[in-house]
């Protein structure tokens, strides 16, 4: 079976991945910091989406004295804490892209000037259009995944960090670190209400990415030729056959 795969592999396979694709063996793709970041980040985003949703559309009125409740206060506190985890995690991930392996940099740029990248995009589109029978092999992200990671996840995350801390700076008030660093975002969008609106839309953008991300991972794991989900647990991308 393994020989068949090698034989049927198109000759135009990119040089960088040809070596790994030719011989099915496990490749160490995601180093420990990347894997830890992934799951911590997942939790942070989950908490941010849920708390953020209810900050914008609060739960039904709480009974009793004001002093007996602190629901919005708690929601906002949890939201801000998770936001710090999310932002610092992103900074840590950027650092790891500098010192980690080649795969750790895939999130942060697209090799748009490389011919083979676009050839692989076409190959992947055929794979997802159910025309081609063979998916991507090559250890790292397939080019479509990279586009989604870069355009949806990275851009969406930075957008949420910038708009989010701009709003946080409003509560922390003028002169706070968040106001000094991100306060310029507010006039850029117009006024605070615009930032709130865009921050809300940004959440849905990330939710759409998550749906996409989870579906594609599970599908690749089942239908592709290499492990996907377990890779984010143990770090190794292994051939399935």
């Amino acid at each position: 079976m393994a020989i068949e795969i090698t034989a049927s592999k198109p000759a135009a396979a990119p040089q960088a991945t040809a070596a790994t694709a030719a011989r099915p063996r496990s490749v160490y793709v995601y180093e420990a910091p990347v894997r830890i970041w992934h799951w911590v980040n997942m939790l942070a985003i989950l908490v941010l989406c849920v708390t953020g949703y209810f900050i914008g559309k609060p739960l039904p009125t709480q009974p009793g004295e004001a002093s007996a409740n602190y629901l919005m206060g708690t929601l906002r506190f949890v939201h801000f804490t998770a936001a710090y985890v999310f932002a610092i995690g992103l900074l840590g991930r950027i650092y790891w892209a500098l010192v980690g392996n080649a795969f750790s940099r895939e999130l942060f740029y697209l090799p748009v000037f490389t011919r083979s990248f676009w050839q692989e995009v076409v190959a992947m589109l055929k794979w997802y259009a159910l025309i081609s029978r063979e998916g991507h092999t090559g250890a790292g992200h397939n080019p479509l995944a990279r586009i989604a990671m870069f355009g949806m996840f990275l851009f969406g995350s930075l957008f949420m960090v910038f708009t989010g801390f701009a709003l946080y700076g409003e509560g922390e008030q003028a002169g706070s670190w968040a106001d000094r660093l991100f306060g310029w975002v507010v006039p850029l969008f117009g006024q605070p209400q615009d930032v709130h609106t865009w921050h809300r839309l940004g959440m849905w953008y990330l939710v759409a990415f998550i749906v996409f991300h989870i579906y594609a991972s599970i599908r690749e794991d089942i239908m592709g030729r290499e492990t996907v989900i377990s890779t984010m647990v143990n770090g190794y991308r292994s051939p399935k056959e």
Binding site: K57, P58, T61, A66
Partner: protein, 361 residues
């Protein structure tokens, strides 16, 4: 030139009253007691600064607000502190007489007068939508601003454009800072601004002979550095999660937070929740209605007064952020489900074909 003090004494104000006035001004500016002698000293030594108050496209609500100032009394501001030499709404002179005063002050106090602008100039149709003394207002504005020391943009009209600049803005009403770009401009937004904020800004400028510290958007920090929400007396109900769900419900009677009925306090920078209105009597939230964000840029174009987020318009439809986002996530989810089903069918078909091939072989 006469000093403030000399003018006040000439008007029969005693030194005792003068010092009381200085103390009151110090307090209303939020300054410490140490500043009171400095204000007194400044008023004794500084010549009165002429203020020219121009009116463009506006509704005069700024003037209406201004003349209701309680601390300091607008009487004091107009008669004693500033020499409000031109204001076609308040002045006795009219017509050519009034315009002559404008020219006279501009020549006599060249580079030394403050220009206060209420309203804004329309630029379309050669500025014909607002004619002052037979000429487009934009010409008067440019001419008077040329030798002004500083410009105060009164209200949301002069600061942001307000209702006459709302989409589609047929007259192209344009805020002052987009027409005059070479002078320091102090924005005092609000529709109208709070009277005490207006007189406070003028008092500060005359007393300290400099413009107040401004924020990123050019608003005085002392009045516009905090949101309504930050100093709202209903804030404890917000933090507790106690909201008015609809006007006239039990929550409304109990004075709960108006966030869920669209209060824009969290997105509005102004001093309403601290200074309040009409001599500190009340402000909208205290009266049971949410803030409509009148001091924020483009507040007419941000959708309903009762929505905290702006609806998105496009392709002839109107939807809020949650409807759009929810639909987007739903479409992606449905697409994923459909794709999954198609993938399974394809795989089954492929497998059957492969089995048949094997049988044939």
């Amino acid at each position: 030139m006469e000093t403030f003090y000399e003018v006040m004494r000439r008007q029969g104000i005693t030194r005792r009253s003068f010092l009381k006035y200085c103390a009151l001004t110090t307090t209303s500016l939020g300054l410490g007691p140490a500043f009171m002698p400095r204000i007194a000293h400044a008023m004794e030594t500084k010549p009165r600064t002429p203020v020219l108050w121009l009116h463009g496209l506006e509704c005069t609500c700024c003037s209406e607000s201004f003349i209701r100032s309680a601390h300091p009394l607008v009487k004091d501001v107009v008669l004693s502190m500033i020499s409000l030499d031109y204001d076609d709404t308040l002045m006795a002179a009219a017509g050519h007489q009034a315009e002559a005063i404008l020219e006279e002050v501009m020549a006599k106090y060249k580079g030394n007068y403050i220009l206060a602008v209420e309203g804004n100039p329309p630029l379309n149709q050669d500025g014909m939508s607002c004619i002052i003394g037979g000429r487009p207002f934009v010409e008067q504005l440019k001419r008077v601003s040329k030798d002004a020391k500083a410009i105060i943009s009164w209200g949301s009209c002069a600061s942001w454009g307000c209702v006459q600049a709302a989409r589609p803005n047929p007259t192209q009403a344009t805020p002052v800072h987009k027409v005059i770009t070479d002078k320091p401009i102090i924005k005092v937004p609000g529709c109208p601004p709070i009277a005490e904020v207006m007189t406070g800004v003028i008092t500060y400028m005359l007393t300290f002979d400099r413009i107040p510290e401004l924020d990123r958007q050019g608003r005085p920090k002392m009045f516009y550095s905090q949101r309504i929400h930050d100093k709202c007396y209903r804030r404890p109900h917000f933090d507790a999660g106690q909201f008015v769900e609809s006007f006239d419900d039990e929550g409304a009677r109990r004075g709960y937070c108006l966030y869920k009925v669209g209060c824009k306090g969290p997105t509005t920078y102004n001093a309403c929740s601290t200074v309040r209105w009409n001599g500190g009597t009340s402000f909208p939230i205290q009266a049971g209605h949410g803030c409509i964000g009148c001091s924020e840029e483009g507040f007419w174009d941000k959708g309903s007064f009762y929505d905290r987020l702006t609806d998105v318009h496009g392709f002839g439809i109107e939807a809020n952020a949650d409807q759009i986002g929810g639909a987007m996530a739903g479409v992606v989810g449905a697409a994923a489900a459909a794709h999954a089903a198609a993938s399974v069918l394809k795989r089954v078909a492929d497998k059957r074909a492969a089995d048949q091939n094997q049988t044939v072989a």
